[in-house]
């Protein structure tokens, strides 16, 4: 274990903080206790001294001095507090008239005030509390108490308090050490895993046991690591795929140019090579444009330029764009008629059209000759959907979740033209519109739905005319 340093341990700091609080509490309680016992005792002694002194002065001040002498002797002999009581009467000349003090303070003693003095009482040294006041006949009356008993009590209380503070300090330090060790032990698992990951073992996870804060922290971090690992794999896969997808067309371009140069450089041969190279480069530009499009859609930057889009119209437009292609591929392309006016969403028309086009394109490519592709824009609760459904061979359920990965291509499609980015783009477009892409096995075929939040139509927005003279003559 690392050497103990306070600044290096939260556990120790916490325990010490709590300990300091505890010690403060004990000190406060002790102070209250101390003044509640020793203080009260001292005050009651003071009260007694003054009241006895006053009583003697009032009762006997005007009477014959012999009566006071008798009373004092009686007090000293009555057995009540006799071992601590102090009485003395001195004559104006400073001689003792009566009392149990052997020595007493000189004339400088302040009158009418409680004072502490070291004196000799009955021949023994005594630490005393003393009250001196003059009597009407000129004598001085000393009344007091021996304090040694009170001192003993005070010492006892203080010792007890010191012991309590000492014990609690020991407990605090021990607590700090224990909780530090406990926290250290819980954290060491996390730190160990972090070091492992730092050194490249990305599949390492924090061992989680129990259900306390650290266990929860551990599983949170584990989930985060899962996500990061997944993203890392995705990025790695994407850069591999990009490298591969760029290398193939680049190789082709290079081969064509090389071929053009190696042959007898006739103009037609060179032209052919140049054309081939341009085609290849166009493919590359297309691929890069798609990747840029995904990046743009995923960054969600365009949301501020969203407008109200009528999905039914987008679906119709795209159906009319693809009808010839479907015809050629021997596919029946059908658009389900929908209640107009309500399928509005907030979005970017071009991007939504791109998504729909991509879904139709896929359906035509993969459904096979003779299949039917149905397009619809139904309303589902708070959402509007664009549904493209085919009754072709469909996609194996195991492959469905992977369809939206960049560059993923189902086995059957690997020899078809394409780059495995189409559905990635569709999914990214759906996400940037606050929606999602759902791919379901339609048995038979595949049903692809883009679900988008629904926007309410403005009253002024009448259903659009599919074609009118105005837009025919407006080129």
């Amino acid at each position: 274990m690392a050497p103990f340093r306070l600044s290096h341990s939260v556990g120790a700091r916490l325990a010490l903080g709590n300990g300091a609080l505890l010690v403060t509490l004990i000190v406060v309680i002790a102070a209250v206790f101390y003044f509640g016992t020793v203080g009260v005792l001292a005050r009651s002694t003071d009260g007694k001294i003054i009241s006895i002194s006053n009583r003697l002065r009032e009762e006997y001040g005007a009477r014959a001095p012999a009566e006071l002498v008798r009373e004092i002797n009686h007090e000293l002999a009555d057995g009540i507090d006799s071992d601590t009581e102090i009485f003395l009467v001195t004559s104006p000349a400073g001689e003792r008239v009566v009392g149990n003090l052997t020595t007493w303070p000189t004339a400088a003693t302040p009158l009418g005030k409680l004072i502490n003095r070291e004196l000799i009482r009955d021949g023994r040294p005594s630490s005393a509390r003393l009250y001196v006041q003059p009597l009407p006949n000129g004598n001085l009356l000393y009344v007091g108490r021996d304090l040694s008993e009170q001192r003993a009590i005070r010492t006892l209380v203080l010792q007890a308090l010191e012991a309590a503070v000492a014990v609690s300090l020991v407990l605090v330090v021990m607590g700090a050490w224990l909780s530090r060790r406990q926290i250290e032990r819980r954290i060491s698992g996390i730190r160990h895993t972090a070091r492992q990951i730092e050194s490249g073992h990305l599949d390492e996870r924090i061992p989680v046991s129990g259900d306390d804060e650290f266990a929860r922290l551990g599983s949170d971090i584990n989930r985060m690591l899962d996500r990061i690992e997944q993203l890392m794999n995705g990025v790695r896969h994407v850069s591999n795929a990009i490298a591969h997808d760029l290398r193939t067309p680049l190789g082709r371009v290079r081969a064509r140019l090389d071929e053009g140069l190696r042959r007898e450089a006739t103009v037609p041969a060179l032209k052919e090579a140049a054309r081939g190279a341009i085609d290849g480069i166009d493919d590359l530009i297309l691929l890069l444009n798609k990747l840029l499009q995904i990046a743009e859609a995923e960054s969600g930057m365009r949301a501020e330029s969203f407008e109200r889009v009528k999905l039914g119209a987008v679906v119709n437009d795209m159906a009319e764009l693809y009808d010839a292609a479907a015809e050629e591929a021997g596919i029946h392309l059908a658009v389900a008629s929908e209640p107009a006016a309500t399928q509005w969403t907030l979005g970017d028309r071009d991007l939504l059209a791109t998504a729909v086009a991509s879904l139709i394109d896929n359906a035509i490519k993969y459904a096979g000759r003779g299949a039917t592709v149905e397009l619809a824009a139904p309303i589902r609760g708070d959402e509007v959907a664009i549904v493209v459904r085919d009754n072709g061979p469909g996609v194996a359920p195991a492959e469905l979740p992977r369809l939206t990965e960049r560059f993923y291509r189902i086995n059957r499609a690997r020899n078809q033209p394409g780059n495995g980015l189409g559905l990635t783009i569709v999914a990214a477009i759906a996400t940037m519109h606050g929606g999602r892409l759902e791919l379901v096995d339609a048995q038979p075929g595949l049903r692809a739905s883009i679900l988008l939040p629904r926007a309410t139509p403005h009253a002024s927005e009448a259903p659009e005319m599919a074609l009118s003279l105005t837009n025919l003559s407006d080129s």
Partner: protein
């Protein structure tokens, strides 16, 4: 035709200027925004081609804006490496007449330039479009080849009308997508080719001469004879 090309990137500038010169344009090249603005405002041009991002403190869009503020209707084609729809829309809203993203094929640029110039000098727009014996009546939407009526779907009518309006001029796939289907993205498949071949089967099959011609690597042209396409071998 006097064209002004404002483009700071030397390779692109050379590519565009040489191409336009070979196609018979008188071209002035300018490599920064400040001079470009000065030239665009103080001389008379048939066409201005301007790069979206330019050095010299004046960018392409502000040149277009300035031109429009002064009420000049010179056709402007914006070139840009910024390909997103937002940028395109911004370019057009500021007063650009067309927007083409880099990288582009020169044939695409030329086709768009010629379409812009035609638009700036429109032919008389009658109620009937006619190319050889093919006629499209804009009021009744009836199409006839000779005396034979031809049935077309609405979108095919729009496609045919666009091709006829640009008779003898090459139109690219992207131009067709934008004008006929209002698509400002590249569906990256052969949808347009298939649409054209269907239209061709309706208006050319069984008739002579063929009117719709493919221009390899560029697009299509509608006309009695295949028009010579400058800049394209």
């Amino acid at each position: 035709m006097r064209s002004l090309v404002i483009e700071d990137e030397p390779d692109t500038a050379l590519y565009v200027c040489n191409g336009l010169r070979e196609s018979g344009h008188a071209v002035t090249c300018c490599d920064n925004g400040l001079d470009g603005l000065h030239l665009a405002l103080n001389e008379i041009w048939d066409l201005v081609i301007v790069d979206r991002l330019l050095p010299g403190g004046v960018d392409g869009l502000s040149i277009v804006r300035r031109l429009r503020e002064l009420g000049k209707k010179t056709p402007v084609l914006i070139l840009s490496a910024l390909t997103s729809t937002d940028e395109r829309v911004r370019g057009l809203r500021q007063g650009g007449d067309d927007y083409i993203s880099k990288p582009f094929a020169f044939a695409e640029l030329l086709a768009r330039v010629e379409a812009l110039l035609r638009r700036a000098h429109p032919a008389q727009d009658g109620t009937e479009l006619r190319v050889a014996d093919l006629a499209l009546d804009m009021r009744t939407l009836l199409v006839t080849r000779g005396a034979v009526p031809i049935a077309l779907q609405p979108r095919e009518l729009r496609l045919l009308a666009y091709l006829m309006r640009n008779e003898g001029q090459v139109v690219t796939r992207t131009m067709l997508l934008e004008a006929v289907w209002d698509c400002h993205f590249d569906p990256q498949t052969n949808v347009i080719d298939v649409q054209i071949s269907r239209l061709r089967s309706k208006i050319d099959r069984g008739f002579s001469p063929a009117l719709i011609h493919t221009v390899r690597g560029v697009g299509y042209v509608l006309g009695e004879r295949r028009a010579g396409v400058p800049g394209v071998p």
